[in-house]
Symmetry: C2
């Protein structure tokens, strides 16, 4: 794929400009007020796939946002790569913490700052540009299909229905996904395990209306205090999740595997310094790396209730709320854990309050194999462009669709991400390195080449 | 004062219309965006005092919002009543829970619905109208001074400075305040005890930025979880406040006093039904009535952190916040309790987080005497218009200025309120009964008459 280099060099600036245009559309799938923007983003991706030379490009309608499909079948006998990505992004708030507006991308210190730059517009778009390079230079070595969805950040609610209805159309030999990170720009890695997710919202109701805390305070249960009691009880003193049955199905990782994991470069003091914490906190008996990969966890992602404006208001509120998510490991069922949480949370509710639990979304943990042709091709491609073989590693995030593809399409995925954990995805000032964007565009064609050669 | 009746009857509608105009101005002192409205409200009160016949009417400048002063000295040898009230109101949010806009008053089922209708515009304005009635009918029996402030809802921050600088101007024989409740419209009562207040805001910081909960969840302290742990630890299993020294100075109420209190009409089942709770919750060993009057308490008035929008966002936030207030009883010092809380809260902060505590405002508890001429005159006035002697009762709210008047002016107060605990003050759908508004206007002149007579 060395012959692509001149085309790459002379089109680099356009590749970037097109991504910046894509980042300017605020495709926040979680918030209905961005609906038109999300749809506009789907149209943009469709137009760019067409321009790159893809065929059968369509917006495949679902009950929610459309899936952008496109393909290029050069020979049915050759292998087929199904590229998955998503064009929707996380909400950008709190806006006030961004140094520049989230949907007005700026380049600073070698990074593209914008919501979605790393997750996943930047990483998804590398594939569109790599495809363009191969096609325009008569170098596409196998078949390719694109499936770019618009609901990943809200749990890919309608994707399974779509995939089930299109199993033959989506038939492929590997699903290639760039929506994860490498360890560092000089330490490539390939994600081989992802945690699952169970995400719920809880509502605690005390009195039927907001009350004056002077007149009623001390005489009636305050739902905020009760919610805090309940949340506090969800961890024990060893920071284990205190929900009966929570760990029952957790896959035990062998001592030798843990020893292997421990070899990956990691500096606890640098980690603490980067986050500006005196000390880390997590489940007793496990290292930081293990806590975010092979162990399930529970975090409150949001909490609110009562008066949260400026100054003082002496209210005893009627309701308090929290968003709670659990990261799951292989073998744990998102559905089962959701049910366990719901039952447990209701069971610990004192009689002074009423509790409502709503399931927001979930997904299963996944472990991807390292002994497949696709993994080996990906590893070889990274070794080619980084000059160093990538380290296989299990990480903390969740991409629930990986297990779904395995179940419905019977196809394994390769998590071929080029981001960094420090990209601040899902946070203010999300960014994606120019190095990473271009490295991805350069590396992907090698994957296609090696995958085709090694599949013979 | 029977001779005021014809004037009262023929001006009732105007008395109401003027109050509605006053309620239309959103004088939220806590929120700087309402600054012009708060100032407009002061001007309105000034104009109405002038129109009623008050003299020396001025907006007395402070570092914050002005105090509206006015007086009518008919004879320096006669007693002087200092009327205190406030023209500012609590914030109106959450707006979506109001059945009609908070600053567009409506009359429904005999109530005036609007922010400030009961607390305190409606109750304060009764005095302006009662004064007008007495003056226009040559019936004012003694001297009167008005001091109507605009910062009560933010802790009367600048009032003490003003009062200290004007002790001779404000000299009086009693401070008359209508900013409390009666037990029911057929059961008048006079508040003889008020709780103090210590109100703080806490901030818990974990990592230095919002993080992806998948990548970091389980490996670094989540400030929401930690804040919940800390708040939860502030009560023990008997719902006593778990801060060392918190109860040290609490005035012990004798068994005979408690027995006397227990005679006031109160139905726990009706209380629970009104609030729609299965069971009340409070400090073990005390009745509901005692919990809101003679015992100090701690409540979270607001909590927030992380993602609180629609849907799911997998964020591990950098910060979590809460507003915490404590109601205090006689002998407890607001300053001392504020310090105790601050020290304790910092001492229980685990090393994984950073904690900041900000003092928002406070005030001392107060017990007003029942053996004074002023109390007896107030009791007799209510007996005259309600046909039933009022019950003296200690209640849960705080009016910190009562102790300040005692300290600085050496003058006792009478808490001559006409509201109801069910008026939803500080809550959505605050309302004030037309019965109560008019009953106050009718009763106040009798207080003036009896107070003057009994002072001889």
């Amino acid at each position: 794929m060395e012959k692509l280099q001149p085309y790459f060099e002379s089109n680099k600036q356009r590749f970037l400009d097109e991504l910046l245009d894509l980042l300017r559309i605020p495709s926040v799938s979680a918030d209905p007020k961005f609906k038109d923007d999300v749809l506009r983003t789907a149209e943009y991706v469709k137009a760019k796939l067409l321009a790159a030379g893809a065929e059968n490009v369509t917006l495949e309608q679902t009950k929610g946002y459309p899936v952008v499909y496109g393909d290029k079948i050069i020979d049915p006998k050759l292998p087929t790569v199904l590229v998955y990505g998503h064009y929707d992004v996380q909400p950008a708030d709190p806006y006030e913490l961004w140094h520049s507006p989230p949907f007005e991308p700026v380049i600073k210190d070698g990074n593209i700052y914008a919501r979605g730059s790393a997750d996943d517009k930047g990483q998804m778009y590398m594939h569109v540009k790599a495809f363009e390079m191969m096609l325009k230079n008569n170098s596409l070595p196998c078949n390719v299909k694109f499936m770019i969805e618009g609901e990943e950040e809200v749990g890919s609610e309608n994707l399974e229905t779509y995939v089930k209805a299109n199993t033959s159309k989506l038939k492929s030999d590997v699903v290639l996904i760039s929506d994860t990170s490498i360890i560092a720009n000089d330490t490539p890695s390939i994600t081989t395990g992802l945690r699952g997710l169970a995400y719920l919202e809880v509502e605690v109701t005390g009195p039927n209306r907001d009350l004056h805390s002077g007149v009623y305070g001390g005489a009636v249960a305050n739902p905020i205090n009760i919610l805090c009691d309940m949340i506090s009880s969800l961890h024990d003193k060893d920071r284990k999740v205190n929900i009966p049955g929570f760990y029952d199905d957790v896959q035990i990782v062998s001592d030798s595997e843990r020893a292997e994991m421990a070899k990956a470069p990691f500096s606890l003091s640098e980690y603490e310094k980067d986050l500006d914490v005196n000390e880390v906190l997590g489940e007793k008996g496990y290292s930081t790396t293990e806590r975010v990969s092979i162990r399930p966890t529970l975090d409150v992602n949001g909490i609110w209730g009562g008066y949260i404006g400026q100054g003082a208001k002496t209210v005893l509120p009627s309701k308090a709320y929290a968003k709670v998510s659990m990261r799951l490991v292989p073998n744990q069922s998102s559905e089962k854990i959701t049910k366990l949480f719901e039952d447990h949370f209701k069971s610990i509710a004192p009689k002074y309050v009423k509790v409502k639990v709503t399931n927001l979304h979930g997904g299963e943990a996944a472990v991807t194999p390292t002994d497949t042709v696709a993994y080996k091709a990906a590893s070889k491609a990274m070794e080619k462009t980084f000059g160093k073989a990538p380290i296989p590693q299990r990480t903390g995030g969740s991409i629930p669709i990986v297990t779904m593809f395995e179940r419905v399409l019977n196809t394994k995925s390769v998590l071929f991400g080029f981001g960094l954990d420090s990209d601040s995805i899902h946070s203010p000032n999300e960014h994606y390195g120019l190095f990473n964007y271009y490295k991805g565009i350069e590396t992907i064609p090698y994957f296609f080449q090696y995958f085709t050669e090694m599949s013979k």
